[in-house]
Amino acid sequence: MLKYIIKRILAALVTLTIIVSVVFILVRQMPIEGYFDNFEKLDQSVINAKLVQMGLTRPIHIQLINFFGKLFRGDLGTSARYSVGVSIGQLIAAKAPVSILFGLVSMVLSMLLGIPLGLEMARSQTKLSTAFATKFFDWFGTIFIVFVNAVPSAVYHIFIQEYGSRALNTSMLFSRGNWVTWVLPVVSMSLGGVAYYAMWLRRYMVDELNRDYVSLARAKGVTSKNIMKSHVFRNAFVPMIQYIPGAILFTVVGSIYVESLYSIPGMGGLLVDVIKKQDNPMVQILVMIYSCIGVVGLLLGDLMMAVIDPRITFVKKEGAR
């Protein structure tokens, strides 16, 4: 077990190094305008002097080694165009708490809504009754899932913002003091999550319902409710646990689109802003942070699975190939 965890963490570190290097090398291919605040007005000699000062004229591998050295000392560099000369670490530190708050609230909301919806949809598969309430959840859930998955989120967020703010009689943009303006971004951010949890929970539960142990439990006379609660749900939830850490981390860095749409001062909106301003150092750091969060989320998910699911063993199976 310990060996597995150590191996997994080392693999993640290697992946992180590769990702950071690739992003670094790719962003270095950008035009040098992205490193200057007022490029057009600068003299060629000043530009050259500044490039030397920033170390951008050196060979790429030396630059990369210097960059890793700075990263280890916790120095993320300074912004070039977005807010000139301010350290990127400070900028992110100011934005991150907002994103974390939004991410956690919408994460909790999507689980609170998605899991019961998935449960209810799976339950309606087992019931023979065609009662309205039973069928309603199945129909509603199916339509909801198809809609959220098929229609690009970039489109329905616009409509939620417009008609939602009209219905709530509030501003279309976020303002920190007014709690009503929190509602729409949170709802927008959690819609995808609700559909995700409902869809997968339903699918895993329907899979589990066809297993032999469910038939056995039924034959023994366990009530339908108890089968659902303590047999099916528990087993169906295990594969979903793997994705929870990743989902938490992702919602924490914020939905890029929603934050930008509502002008929420978070990290997602920041990424869009710095792309529009073509601020190379900041794009580089933010892209790295987002990619690393993917790696860390997957690592945590795997580790959690290993701890929770007793069926996962670390003895290497001999392949039949």
Binding site: I19, V155, I256, L271, I275, V287
Partner: protein, 471 residues
């Protein structure tokens, strides 16, 4: 024929045996004929006439909604391609101007016809000459002059929503409503008296407005007889007056720079579908090739697994943003950025399936019987893979369209000169609460039809293509 005597001949089996024997004896022996022993026949292997594609098709056609959506999608697809060749279409990027004013026909509301009004036979209209008016059309109006603002004119007749006036020797009719705000006498029908307005007011030949808010309308030259001086014409018959010198309406209206939204929407759908299809095809092809290699070639397994671990960890949105940021914006860039990592999931799935199926008993049996490798892949492996390949391809299209909208929003999408659904939605986004909301609604509706159809057809086909669901 005789029933073999049972070893456990007891009181129960005995009568049963007897009755069966009686039944057999009753059978007409002419119905049967004995056949000689044939070694080849004994070795023959039976097969079912199960056809994979026929069963898949049957399973799919049983589902009503996806079939209907497939129908809609095919019609839509065909239409997007034939639309530019239909008669009376505007070029998507053409900026339409009014021939007389020279201004862009911006934010024109959706319309079904370009006819503004009909004028009776014998109506006299003044002709505005301009070289911008196309051949066969006349720019006309029935305005004969205008009174400058705050200038007195004489009202000679009061007709409620029109008044007849005399000004500078000319006689004409002026509209009397909020648009002219005439300052008439306390008793407006006690003519004649002097009146003024705070606006410039046009006066017309008759109490009829044959203009578009004071701007010239158009008639076909064949419907009117032009006077010798070319400054006026008389209509030969009951004639339609057109907003623009064309029979083709702006079905979806125009955008803020006077481009035909109908043409833009279809051109944009073509672009977006092209991006979607290309991404789906590239994903499928690369995914299949890498997946097959990964599954079959043992030496590649380790390295490909490591590559997979790295690529799968990076969020696709971030790859998309990074590539679009670095490269020049364009269709090629978007396709490249979207398909750069998307094949990874497909490759892994195919690899897993191949490893599982290669050593299944039926494939082993098939190999022992000497099935060639291409036939093994085609007949034994592919049916298991088709469902997921189709599903992934069907989902790639809505995914690519959605990514395109997103990447356009953050300013890294296609240039404005290339119409796409992303560009149109992004331009229409700010107009949702205005009276021009149709500029968002039309692209959104088309986009939703495409994406929802693709998604549902993909899912239904994946179900149908799974051999487990063939009954």
């Amino acid at each position: 024929m005789k029933v073999k005597p049972s070893r456990l001949r007891d009181n129960i089996s005995r009568p049963l045996e007897m009755s069966i024997q009686a039944e057999i004896d009753n059978i007409d022996s002419k119905l049967f004929r004995e056949s000689a022993f044939n070694e080849d026949e004994a070795e023959r292997i039976g097969y079912s006439n199960y056809s994979y594609w026929r069963s898949t098709f049957r399973a799919f056609s049983r589902k009503k909604i996806p079939v209907a959506l497939l129908f809609v999608l095919v019609i839509l697809l065909v239409f997007t391609f034939i639309q530019p060749f239909l008669p009376g279409q505007y070029a998507a990027t053409k900026i339409n101007n009014h021939p007389i004013t020279g201004l862009q026909l911006s934010n024109v509301k959706p319309m079904l016809t370009t006819v503004k009004a009909a004028a009776p036979s014998g109506t006299v209209l003044s002709v505005t000459r301009s070289k911008n008016v196309p051949e066969g059309w006349l720019a006309v109006s029935n305005i004969i002059g205008s009174v400058p603002r705050r200038t007195a004119f004489t009202v000679t007749e009061y007709l409620d929503d029109w008044v007849r006036i005399e000004y500078g020797g000319a006689v004409g009719y002026v509209i009397n409503d909020f648009s002219t705000k005439l300052k008439l006498a306390d008793d407006p029908s006690a003519v004649p008296y002097e009146a003024t307005s705070n606006f410039n007011v046009n006066f017309f030949i008759e109490p009829m407005d044959f203009t578009n808010n004071g701007i010239e309308l158009f008639v076909k030259a064949s419907d009117a007889s032009v006077a010798d001086d070319g400054a006026s014409c008389v209509l030969n018959s009951q004639t339609n007056l057109y907003l623009i010198p064309s029979d083709s309406p702006f079905l979806f209206g125009t955008n803020n720079i006077g481009q035909d939204l109908w043409a833009l929407v279809w051109s944009g759908t073509r672009t977006s579908l092209f991006i979607g299809f290309m991404v789906a095809v590239i994903e499928a092809v690369i995914g299949m090739i890498i997946g097959m290699l990964w599954g079959y070639v043992r030496r590649l397994d380790r390295i490909l697994t490591e590559i997979y671990n790295v690529l799968d960890n990076i969020p696709t949105t971030i790859v998309l943003i990074l590539i679009a940021y670095i490269l020049k914006p364009g269709i090629g860039t978007l396709i490249f950025a979207m398909s750069l990592t998307s094949w990874v999931g497909m490759a892994r799935f195919i690899r897993n399936q191949i490893i599982i199926i290669r050593d299944r008993d039926y494939n082993l049996a098939s190999r022992c019987l000497g099935t060639s490798l291409p036939r093994q892949i085609l007949r034994n492996l592919l049916p298991y893979l088709v469902s997921v390949i189709m599903l992934q391809m069907a989902l790639a299209i809505p995914g690519a369209i959605g990514s395109e909208v997103f990447i356009t929003y953050i300013g890294l999408g296609l240039p404005v000169s290339v119409p796409s659904l992303g560009n149109l939605i992004n331009a229409g986004r700010k107009l949702l609460s205005t009276s021009q909301s149709y500029q968002l609604v039309f692209p959104t509706v088309v986009l939703s039809i495409v994406t929802i159809s693709c998604y549902m057809i993909g899912n239904a086909f994946a179900d149908a293509a799974d051999p487990k669901n063939h009954r």
